[in-house]
Amino acid sequence: MLGCLLCLVFVSLLPAQTPATYPYNGVYDQRDGHYAFTNANITSAPGQNIASGTLVIKNGKVVSVTNGRNVPAGAVEIDLSGKFVYPAFVEAYGSYGLPEAKSAGKSPDRQPQMLSNKKGAYGWNEALKPEFDAVDHFTVNSKAAGEWRKLGFGTVNSHQMDGIHRGSSVAVSLAESKENSVILANKVAAFLSYSKGKSTQDYPSSRMGSIALLRQTYIDADWYRNQADEKNLSLEAWNELAKLPQFFEVGDWQNLLRAQRIADEFDLEYIYQSGGDEYRRLDAIKATGAALILPLNFPDAYDVSDPYGARLVSLEDLRHWERAPGNPAAVADAGITFALTTHGLKKKSEFMGMLRKAIKAGLSEEAALRALTKTPAKMLGLQEQVGELKKGSQASFLVTSAPVFDKDASILQNWCQGERFELKPLETAALAGTYQLTVDGKSMTLEVKGKAGKEKFKLPGKDEDDKGTDVKHKVSGEFLSLSYQTEGSPGFVRLNGGKTNNGYAGRGQDANGNWVDWSMRKTGEVSDEKKEDKKEKEEDKPARLVSQLTMPLGGYGFATLPASEKILIRNATVWTSEEDGILEETDVMVENGKISAIGKNLPKAGARVIDGAGKHLTAGIIDEHSHIALSSVNEGSQASSAEVRMTDVIDATDVDIYRQLAGGVTTSQLLHGSANPIGGQSAIVKLRWGASPEEMIFDTAPGFIKFALGENVKQSNWGDDYRIRFPQTRMGVEQVFDSYFTRAREYEKAKNAGGKGFRRDLELEALLEILNEERFITCHSYQQGEINMLMGVGERHDFVVNTFTHILEGYKVADKMVEHGAGGSTFSDWWAYKYEVNEAIPFNAALMHEQGVTVAINSDDAEMARRLNQEAGKMVLFGGVSEEEALKFVTLNPAKLMHIDDRVGSIKVGKDADLVVWSDHPLSIYARAENTLVDGKEYYSMEKDKMLRQRIQEERNALIQKSLDAKADGSKTQKPKGKQKRYLHCDSLEHEEGEHDH
């Protein structure tokens, strides 16, 4: 192939810049590389264009960019007539020239590793490597540099992509001289991520753990400045890097917002290397004010020709396939500052193709160029050196055959710091035409078609049936070689010849191996096929989108979020869960998100009327124990993870939010798992489907924290590898609590005393909040002994255990719970699944209730939560709880346990209009939620649901047809794939977002 030969790196004759301090061999030979590039169309910076100008470079730097032809004395002129010049691209997010990361040490086989394996005076966590200074590890790599240059890059900011704190980067040019010369700057920026990478240490094992670790380290680093007792090279490095730009690789839009929570808390400014799905929540992302580094990882179309296979692909993924290429344009239109990166591409070589897709989908060429030059340069603080061509900047630029983003443009030369790399000859002879080919005296016609450098050679057939013979060719400088085999010939004819006036001539071997003379002589032109051009123009138009942009992007997302309405529910049986009890044929008015009136024959007053005749109205169901809408559940690597916050990992896109609205659920406590005695801080949310994670949070709910007892925390069912972490028995569990609360009290004293040496500890802060009644416990518990134990710990340390959750043996100690003041949130009827639930009974709720415990029924299960009303109904069956009280088990009582009963849990004037209209008696198996309101907004109704289903079907079909069209047009496709929906329970453990369960 023509192209391949020429893309061989052509290193300039200029000797590589030798560092001044280096000795040299032979005579002194440091030439100044003085060049003038004339008659070029120069884009010196995005939006700055000279149609015909001169670029002068010397000693690897730009001397001038001027209009017209100006060749200074001593400069070599290179005529770039018809060629285009651009600043070379800048990759802010690369790892060029750096070695692969390695683990700090060997982790004992599958055993928990509590501390870092890294030897030396470094920090405790192996995933934090601020001390990694990329400049110490950088080496020039010709092969890799060549690949980068081919794509048009001249500068890469390299960091080692490993760990949560990845240290600092080095900015280098892609020249191939000594490292001493190509390094433009070191300690350019600091790099963070959520992923602990090669760290074999257990902590953090979850997303919220990574976030908590970052928080605490910000605090520790600050503390470190003012103390002298500890030498910690990691914290020292952390502090040193604090003044640099901070890059954070986040992944999808929700993960971006999670990082922004840290940024807000510590007054930081992150630059996000984001996921490419920002179009889903542009407003929220714009509101962060952060700059972005966008990937170009647009998915291939799905091969959906098998209707069964196609079902694997969700509407969300189909929509993303259609909309992802439009993401850079959307981000640009929103006015967000962004750079583009090759990071995230499956193969780097896809870069230009993907970029063109983004341009076709609406990104302006100027914005694209800016995102590849000036913006990344500025992010790195290298704007004086790279990103534009101006006096004094690095002579790093591209020479292209056409405007750089044109489909047919080729990068001909890539100059790095004045070092020339020729990718293609500046001039490629156009060979198209008809020739007379004469081989050994026999003549025939040879047709050459196609553009310069991309020609196809052919011996045409005699008639329509004869397809002729393809001729393989290779141009090498002034020489051409051909090979072909005509029909009936015993073998290939192979020819090689040099250029002549009107063709080529030389020697070759015929099919029998005899040496022969040959020549080809141009006899005429071939007609260009104009049809193709038209088609291309058609292709350049952005395609019409058939998908909708909904919140969230899944099938059941909303195109427009539900609005607050004035609603009158008429003539329903109203279960107030208040003193009024159950009111027959009663009206309830909803206004401004609140319940505004309850009574008979309320005036309509412009409200939308929901006919409640024959139906039942209850307060929205409240699930005290839920793990839906979370990306992570357990940070189970240590006995206490009080510092982790579930509000950091709310997943507002979980379709189970919608499904549970259809089961009448309106508020849930999203709990940490039960992998350790002291778990993490809860997120209490309203099921505001379509909102952002932040908007789901129940704003007036107090802080909660998950505790756990029994088999899970002592790792009874985790297998034989887990025999190290304390505690391994119930005896140890008590000591964990005693120890932590004792420390929390001491911590309080130190805190009150203040002083420079005081180190704020987020873990102990959370525990101190418990002691100060600012945070409440909900404790996973089963057996009576451990329940009493924890109440004892509470009494010794002067706090109340607010809620025991699961509490399957609560019936045995209900009297003590009442005395202590603990509530119970239990399953209706689960048992027998492990040893500690062997004495669980379905009468548990009834017995606790009879003793005066505030009882709730919870789900801990995405499926069961859809019918919690029925689980409450079972309590009528098991133990004869009255129906009115049974309903409170899933409405008012959990609200009380969560200290939100001033807002939700019952139907009372002034309370939040979180309401459910049921088709039948709300405790009945036959009851279906017909309308579910949160804050007076209708988030679910059977009617709307029907429409959504219709929309899903239609839109899936439209996108599938479009995918099939794309396949038919030759687009690359991928096999149908479906995301794994993980169902998280208390016991769900995860390593980096869930590799396996226990």
């Binding site: 008696h921 405790l923 036959y926 995301k979």
Partner: protein, 440 residues
């Protein structure tokens, strides 16, 4: 505190006044399951109840006569005035055939997380020869809790591998597996290759590339078994191949556990080549191939309705309404729930189907007569019909709705079953604790 005690006392009195099975008169605690009930010695007449016959019919104000463990009569009370019968007045109550729980782990697992109590999953890939029959633990403390909710017969099913082994059908009030079993080795359980597989690395589902290979392996094994079972062989008894003969001769069911539409179709087609009509177990996507199943006369043991849709875009109520869709298409099916202790919720699993469009009596049929037919025990069980086994329950109200679902009496083969269980005992024990405290 005072108030609480009064409250407790009132509730206690209330519950004692109701004929609750949870509150049997016993004061002492039993460490063991209740003693299996003795043979029926007296003729029994249950009168005045609404009879749900199990075959789709309802009889208001009905009468059931039980004699020698059989149903002597089940129908309208009109024109009947039984003498010499122990009379049970069931006016206002509902009578159903004893429920049949298919595809369960009952008797095989006692405590899920405790390995020593798990006997449902043998190691190995092709295990047609292993039998739940002999592993079924009649002394499982789980069984009485399930029985007290009206489930009187259960299929105990092996798991794991491509071929898991043989199930058997048991009545749930036995001394040992020999007297509890009602159909020995009723079928072999096959786990159909999955058409999609999961990649942990990508965390995504995609087409199972090994599907055809796995299918061929299964077919090859069945062909070997067929050759083995047809030939008269001596001297080289092959237990695995021999175990397949009943299935290949249509003397036992082929229970194919399969969830997706393509897999279902493929299972029916392959089994057809061997002259076998499989029973589809699970069948999440059976609604997509309902007409095909109807045409092939293949029955389905549907997995639980109380499940989540398997795809984000699926109708949110798909598992709830699948039974109604199968009924609409005329496919024969039973409703099941999976698990062991969970079986006590089997009535509610059917209730959910009713809430989402399934005819009520059809739902009962899916727990009784149609389940019996699939399991091959409909000669004796599954409906209230003259001459069949007197295996039935008397319920205070609508069995399928938790509000009124209390099972007050149960008969297995005419024996009046003790509905007490460990959980009721513990209930009484702690009622007693608190009543002592309040009396203090």
């Amino acid at each position: 505190m005072k108030l609480k005690h009064i409250y407790t006392l009132t509730l206690l009195l209330t519950s004692l006044a109701t004929p609750s099975s949870f509150m049997s008169g016993r004061t002492s605690l039993l460490a063991q399951n209740p003693t299996p009930a003795p043979e029926q010695s007296e003729k029994i007449a249950v009168s005045g109840a609404t009879l749900h016959l199990g075959n789709g019919q309802v009889v208001e104000n009905g009468l059931v006569l039980l004699e020698d463990g059989k149903i002597e009569y089940a129908g309208s009370q009109k024109d009947h005035s039984p003498n010499d019968y122990q009379m049970i007045d069931a006016a206002g109550k509902h009578v159903y055939p004893g429920l049949i729980a298919l595809n369960t782990g009952l008797g095989l697992t006692e405590i899920g997380a405790v390995r020593s109590t798990r006997d449902g999953r043998e190691t190995g890939y092709l295990n047609p020869h292993v039998r739940t029959l002999i592993a079924f633990n009649t002394d499982s403390q789980v069984i009485p809790t399930v029985r007290s909710r009206g489930v009187l017969l259960a299929q105990s099913v092996p798991q794991g591998g491509r071929i898991s082994g043989k199930s058997s059908i048991f009545q749930l009030d036995g001394w040992n597996y020999e007297d509890a079993v009602r159909r020995t080795d009723d079928g072999i359980h096959l786990n159909w290759p999955r058409t999609v597989s999961y990649s942990w690395r990508e965390r995504k589902y995609s087409e199972n590339k090994d599907y055809n290979k796995q299918l061929n392996e299964l077919e090859a094994f069945m062909l070997e078994a067929k050759a083995y079972c047809n030939g008269e062989r001596e001297g080289d008894v092959q237990l695995k191949l021999a175990a397949m003969c009943d299935l290949l001769n249509n003397d036992a069911n082929a229970y194919v556990h399969v969830y997706d539409a393509k897999g279902i179709q493929s299972a029916v087609m392959l089994m057809k080549e061997f002259g076998i009509k499989p029973v589809i177990v699970g069948g999440d996507e059976s609604y997509l191939v309902a007409d095909f199943l109807k045409q092939e006369g293949v029955s389905v043991i549907l997995g639980s309705t109380q499940d989540l849709p398997n795809r984000a875009d699926a109708d949110i109520d798909q598992p709830f309404k699948t039974p109604a869709m199968l009924a609409e298409a005329g496919v024969s099916f039973a409703i099941s729930h999976g698990g062991y202790w969970e079986q006590r919720n089997l009535p509610f699993v059917a209730g959910t189907a009713v809430a989402y469009g399934l005819d009520y009596e059809k739902a009962i049929q899916a727990l009784t007569l149609d389940a019996a037919k699939i399991a091959g025990i409909d000669q004796d069980y599954g409906s209230l019909e003259n001459g069949k086994s007197a295996t039935l329950i008397v319920v205070g109200g609508d069995l399928l709705d938790m509000r009124k679902s209390e099972v007050e009496m149960a008969f297995i083969d005419g024996r009046m079953i003790d509905l007490d269980n460990k959980q009721s005992e513990l209930y009484r024990k702690f009622k007693e604790k608190y009543s002592r405290e309040s009396g203090r």
